[in-house]
């Protein structure tokens, strides 16, 4: 890598390290794996930064992180890569207790645990939308799926997570 590309990497790619870590952490469900994944992704990004011509550096880095995470998990033989639509069966929202009660600090661990029970494709759209605040179009480019798929998967992911949290709340509330 020459100096120009290195400077470009530092200026455009490195600021998105936090987002890259959040995505890798969510996909791998492990701090250590997330660090490995992001490091691999950074190395790839360094190698290919010269060929990166886009304007959305964050989306570009997140795509690399995602691909790195998927190929690692595929190599590890993870079964959850399959998108199981049955898993996404929605709970009846009208029966749910108010979510506000779950926002307390001590409940965050529970949210994380439930989030990690979602299939990977659901976890990633949730993160890209809710945390990274990306548009459907940007998410579609990253996960290489149509915008309609992003929308429906995001809806199912929210419903599923919401249902899991309601269930957990019911179990912990006598």
């Amino acid at each position: 890598m020459d100096r120009t590309n290195l400077e470009r990497f530092e200026r455009e790619i490195m600021p998105h390290l936090d987002g890259a870590y959040a995505l890798a952490r969510l996909l791998s469900r492990s701090d250590h794996d997330a660090e490995d994944i992001v490091q691999d992704a950074l190395l790839k990004a360094m190698r290919f930064v010269a060929s990166y011509q886009g304007i959305n550096a964050r989306g570009w880095l997140l795509s690399i992180v995602r691909n790195t995470a998927y190929s690692r998990l595929r190599a590890a033989g993870a079964k959850e890569l399959m998108m199981d639509d049955d898993l996404a069966a929605a709970a009846d929202p009208h029966l749910a207790p108010p979510l506000e009660s779950l926002i307390a600090e001590e409940q965050r661990q529970l949210v994380r645990t439930m989030l990690e029970r979602l299939p990977m494709p659901m976890r990633e759209v949730l993160l890209l939308r809710e945390v990274e605040d990306l548009s459907y179009k940007a998410i579609a480019e990253i996960i290489q799926a149509p915008i309609g798929t992003v929308m429906s998967r995001l809806g199912r992911a929210r419903e599923r997570l919401s249902a899991l949290l309601c269930q957990a709340a019911k179990e912990t509330t006598p």
Partner: protein, 246 residues
Amino acid sequence: MTCDELLSRLHPYLDGELTPDEMRTAESHLALCASCQAQVTRYRALGATLRATMPARASAALQQRAHLLLRDARQHTKRRRWVTAFAACAAVALLGVCLWQFTAGREGEDAELRDVAALHLRSQLPGHLIDLTTSDTAVIAPWFGRQLPYTPWTGVLGRECVLLGARLDYCDHQRVAVLVYRHAGHLISLITYPSDRRGDHPRILDTRDGVALCGWTQGHLQFYMVSDLAQDVLEHISHMVPPPSA
């Protein structure tokens, strides 16, 4: 707008992906429908919870690794720049040496050609042409052998060239053997001397001071043929000197 219609667009509504018109329609329904508004509130709270749950920053370990990665890349780039700079300097130096050698070689060759031309022209001054007048190579060869530390080529050049005799001369800082021939009224000097040029060199054809020159190496011997003949005729005759193996 019914509740079903709103719920079918709930997620694009939450994500701001509806058109401005659709947004207004949805908001007008939400303003009147507590049940749908409760859904919106629920999911907005879910989003906020997710944001609070996610790590806001890369872990310290990852930040450290990224830092090291960048440092390595910077050093590598720096080293590469040194290597590039060094390679560039070396290339320039090498080019300089090559140019110098080339120029020196050209100058050497040029001086040699001038020397050879002068030798031929000088030989035509009265009394300088021939030391040993004979067309018998069996006489010339031992005569050369007594006077020179090397064995020059001695021979005839076809039927159209008449061997007039032999001469010793001085060229390229040494005593050299010269055979003198006549071809159709033109004198030809064939100069032979040891050379450190080895291997096959392309035949040099040139003109100096109005005389044609043809030079080549054969084994360890340098040959020059000089005459006021046309260059192409001279080259033709030069090929009559048999290769060393013959």
